[in-house]
């Protein structure tokens, strides 16, 4: 099948290529050919100046992530023909949310800096008793261990697209690999740092990271685990955690979301005052939420029983872990 490859190119070293442009290449694509094989073909037969990263060709090294028809994928495990049939074209660009250096090669230095920020290595407490890592312990962090650092998640991250300082999903998935490890001695300190500005509470839950991870790491799941762990450690003096607490209280008391209380509890008294002019505008359209007073659902006692039982179990698990850690 003859397919036109449109590739975004850029080479700041030459005046005429210093602005990004699209170059087209025609290629005869057999069934099963991957995007990476196609790129290698183009370099071999048509244009040796086309630049991109690659190494293992089997989705292990994480080098060849590019944007294919607008979405971040590994070139080596994406087949051309199904992709072309779905999109009606074959457009290959450098990863979004990253600065191109040349053609499809992007600057990974910011990616590594984010990774370094979470200190991606275990720091056991000195003198702590040795502790067996059970299969169940390993399962908790297993998905985070699969990361090949390809950058697809960060490239898709909607929060990072707005705020480049955001720590972003790749480093957060790695952070959970460490925080969730039973041998880690500084989990609480790490969670405190992750709760700061541009940290884990800036995730907008757009689910792009999880959808486009080629290794099924599910960074969103790691972010949820980190947030839960922080709540359980009592690190709640920040808007993200207060927002979660407000939801937890609201569902427990009323069975439903109390929009008025959510705003007040998350923002606190002073910042809520700042919302008054805006609130008045909403009130004009009948949109200002009223706080709940009574239960909003039938059989609320069931909800309360579920809370009690789930919290009893969470407490028991926490105690068990503490006693294991003491040896």
């Amino acid at each position: 099948m003859k397919i036109k490859f449109k590739i975004r190119r850029y080479n700041p070293a030459e005046a005429e290529t210093a602005e990004p442009y699209i170059q087209a290449y025609m290629l005869d694509v057999p069934e099963g050919m991957t995007v990476l094989e196609a790129l290698l073909n183009i370099v071999d037969d048509q244009d040796p100046t086309l630049s991109f990263r690659k190494s293992c060709r089997s989705a292990i090294c994480g080098s060849c992530a590019v944007s294919i028809n607008g979405f971040s994928k590994l070139a080596c495990n994406t087949q051309v023909i199904p992709e072309y049939k779905k999109a009606g074209e074959m457009l290959i660009e450098p990863l979004a949310n990253h600065t191109p250096l040349k053609d499809l090669i992007v600057d990974f230095a910011p990616f590594w800096r984010k990774m370094e920020k979470v200190a991606p290595y275990l720091t056991p407490e000195e003198g702590a008793p040795t502790m067996a890592v059970t299969p169940k312990d390993e399962e908790r962090v297993d998905r985070s261990q699969r990361c090949v650092m390809c950058g697809c998640c960060n490239a898709e991250c909607n929060s990072m697209a707005i705020d480049e300082k955001y720590i972003a999903p790749a480093a957060l998935a790695k952070a959970w690999r460490i925080v969730g490890d039973v041998r880690e001695g500084n989990a609480k300190k790490r969670l405190e740092r992750l709760s700061e500005e541009h940290g884990m509470w800036d995730c907008v839950r757009c689910v792009h990271c999880t959808q486009y991870c080629p290794k099924d790491v599910s960074p969103l799941k790691a972010i949820e685990e980190l947030r839960s762990a922080a709540m359980k450690e009592g690190i709640t003096d920040n808007p993200g955690a207060k927002h979660v607490e407000a939801m937890k209280d609201s569902v427990e008391r009323f069975g439903r979301l109390d929009e008025a209380a959510m705003t007040f509890k998350t923002l606190g008294f002073l910042r809520s005052l700042g919302m008054i002019p805006f609130g008045l505008r909403m009130e004009k359209h009948g949109k200002l939420p009223r706080p709940h007073i009574f239960a909003q659902i039938e059989d609320l006692d069931e909800v309360k029983k579920i809370y009690e039982e789930a919290e009893r179990r969470a407490e028991a698990e926490k105690k068990e872990m503490e006693s294991r850690k003491k040896g």
Binding site: A87, D202, M247, L257, M282, H285, K287, D299, I306, E309
Partner: protein, 274 residues
């Protein structure tokens, strides 16, 4: 904040002959925040909703994309792992409940584009929406994670586009249609949320949209309610009316602007209505 989404869905479904049955016991799904609090509690509370639907002998339809995603993800996890389902049922048992794993979860958009069918919908249109150039705003949780949702294509979604066209409108193509409105961090990182909302609206506007339409009430809150804040953040006027999916369907079925609660919107759609 978006009571009109509820009220207009009821009117539209009645008009189309889609039977809705209230779930008076249903608790809040947690909107992802309960997942952040405690995963097991989140599963149990969602399973309580499923148990009610099971007792009614029906599947669940929601008018919120986030409810859809949160419930579907819980259901996926429970069905994939019998041990997890059992553990969750042990918690439910303290409230005298049990979930057997038989429920499907849908949203209004899917019911219209799938179960009801576009051809049937077209037949009911009495006032084709030939005045609208709508930017379809799917919202994250109608599309991702696709392994839990499974109806539409997360990269090239078609359902909302198809419904707009079935109603006689034009669906405008723009990059932001699969992206996020920022709702989840409105109260946490307002700057990110407002910039994100502005980016989406300006993207659609630049591609010629005279309105946005969304199947998600949270997206509606950001796109309409908080558009003023987004404008401030972007230092420019956007003035983009935003419809709930149900309102657009209602208008095409001949229901009035008043019945569709359009005066509740902060950005008035009056100028473009015909």
């Amino acid at each position: 904040m978006t009571k009109e989404a509820n009220a207009t869905t009821r009117l539209v479904c009645k008009k189309l002959g889609i039977g809705l049955h209230d779930m008076p016991k249903a608790n809040c799904c947690g909107a992802g925040l309960l997942t952040d609090y405690d995963y097991q509690l989140y599963l149990a509370l969602n399973a309580r909703i499923f148990a009610e639907a099971e007792a009614m002998g029906m599947d669940i339809m929601t008018i919120c994309s986030t409810c859809l995603m949160v419930m579907s993800t819980a259901n996926r996890d429970l069905l994939a792992d019998p041990k997890l389902l059992e553990k969750t049922n042990e918690i439910l048992a303290t409230a005298g409940l049990r979930y057997n794993g038989t429920i499907k979860i849908k949203q209004l958009l899917w019911v219209l584009a799938g179960d009801y069918g576009l051809d049937n919908l077209k037949k009911k249109v009495v006032k084709p929406l030939n005045w609208i150039k709508a930017a379809p705003f799917y919202g994250c949780h109608s599309l991702r994670p696709s392994d839990a949702l499974g109806f539409d294509d997360p990269e090239r979604p078609w359902s909302l586009d198809a419904v707009i066209e079935a109603l006689g409108g034009e669906a405008v193509q723009y990059k932001g249609k699969t992206k996020c409105c920022g709702f989840q961090v409105d109260l946490v990182v307002a700057e990110t949320a407002e910039k994100m909302t502005a980016t989406r609206l300006l993207d659609g506007k630049e591609k010629g949209a005279n309105a946005f339409v969304t199947p998600c009430p949270f997206c509606h809150i950001n796109l309409d309610n908080y558009q003023g804040l987004a404008e401030k953040r972007a230092s420019q006027k956007i003035a983009m009316p935003v419809f709930h999916l149900s309102q657009l369907v209602g208008l095409s079925l001949g229901l009035t602007a008043e019945e569709m609660g359009l005066s509740r919107h902060l950005v008035s759609p009056e100028k473009i209505l015909k």
